[in-house]
Symmetry: C2
Subunit: 243 residues, 2 copies
């Protein structure tokens, strides 16, 4: 009713949810932060595993919402939650690079909700509605800082190495973002979480987007400015990263 | 699914929705801002008026949500919307004054969504969960600025007369807030919309909260600090304001 819930989106391959441990951890963290006291991750993943016996390859969305019947914002002592598992036919990830622009819609800022994949996503909905055929992703900003794409996280190659926005005020801590950060550390490639300004973005040597479905998605253009994608391809090769 | 919708809460008295024109206007404005292209306010209010033939006194909530079946954040060209009218038994407004505190949960900031009564209200849900028996309302802040209560708007008597928070970054433009502002102007009582800091709140000579259900609700205490309520009672008398 109030976007009072959380979700995760992932890939099923060989009847398994890829990075299941991270999805489980993300859902549990959201449940704790949003005070879903009846959330039972074990039961949910048991049900998921039974379902996956018959699903070889797909994309999946798990959504957990609060169910209560009392009027008003207050969480009822009789609250319960409902988990919904949706399975979608697998759609191949885009083969072309990504062209991006700054969304007019600002990102919603709340330091207590930042990082979580909660269901208050009107900013993403409005930013996604700004996307045209020419551009495939919209970048959401918190004033002069770039936070994320409408459905992706961002990495850029700055003068000081690879950086990705710090998500202390807004944005979602994506699982692919986390995997890329870990792979880069493991490969001794310098990377840092920090605030990124529009100016830094415009001076970037290269940039890419991430999410569970597309993996690493090179950015070839920001507005009218072209970006070289060879640095991103080189990184993908080094990390040997698919998703 | 993403809190992708908007709502309004009002009072039915004598088979009429009080301030129906303002509720209708608010819903239409939300529909426009949130790109609900199929929203039909005339049809909704026709249905409401037929329903109200059998409802003498009640509180009411009208919720409009986007319905679409495609995955992802993008608004589908096949989008439609669903309006739900909920009627609740009338519950008398609190007779006592209100004790308030600062919520730990910050208000969610987004200049494009500010003012609208949209359904991305996790900040209100979490702030409402902080309310205890001792205090009846939580004040939500944007850093050092006070924006609103968890389900109310705020007015304070400052050195420079009555003021209410400017809602350019966050908060809901309440209908009762608007009625009180209009009444004060009509009665030549100085009032201003402006940013209000915690310090100004702590130095206030008096303060009150508003919403459609409680009307004007005097604040008698902020944390450990007592506030006199006689100025508010005097104002209520001058405005002859019920709700």
């Amino acid at each position: 009713m109030f976007g009072d819930g959380f979700f995760t989106t992932g890939v099923i391959e060989g009847n398994q949810l890829l990075n299941a441990v991270y999805h489980k951890e993300r859902l549990l963290k959201s449940a704790k932060m949003l005070l879903f006291v009846t959330y039972d991750g074990e039961a949910l993943f048991d049900a998921l595993n039974r379902l996956l016996i018959s699903v070889e390859k797909a994309s999946i969305r798990i959504t957990v919402t609060r169910t209560q019947f009392e009027r008003g914002y207050a969480i009822s002592s009789a609250q319960d939650c409902l988990a919904t598992i949706q399975v979608f036919p697998w759609v191949a990830t885009p083969e072309s690079d990504c062209q991006v622009f700054y969304a007019e819609t600002p990102v919603s800022v709340n330091s207590k909700l930042a990082g979580l994949k909660h269901l208050n996503r009107l900013d993403n909905v409005l930013a996604a509605s700004e996307i045209t055929q020419k551009n495939q992703e919209a970048l959401l900003c918190d004033n002069e800082l770039i936070v994320c794409g409408s459905r992706t996280n961002l990495f850029i190659a700055s003068d000081k190495g690879w950086v990705t926005p710090l998500l202390k005020r807004a944005g979602i801590e994506g699982i692919t973002r986390r995997l890329v950060l870990q792979s880069m550390v493991a490969c001794d490639i310098p990377v840092k979480e920090k605030d990124i300004s529009r100016l830094e973005m415009e001076n970037a040597k290269a940039a890419f987007l991430t999410n569970s479905l597309v993996g690493i998605w090179p950015i070839s253009r920001l507005g009218n400015k072209k970006l070289a994608t060879d640095l991103v391809q080189q990184l993908q090769f080094q990390l040997n990263f698919i998703r």
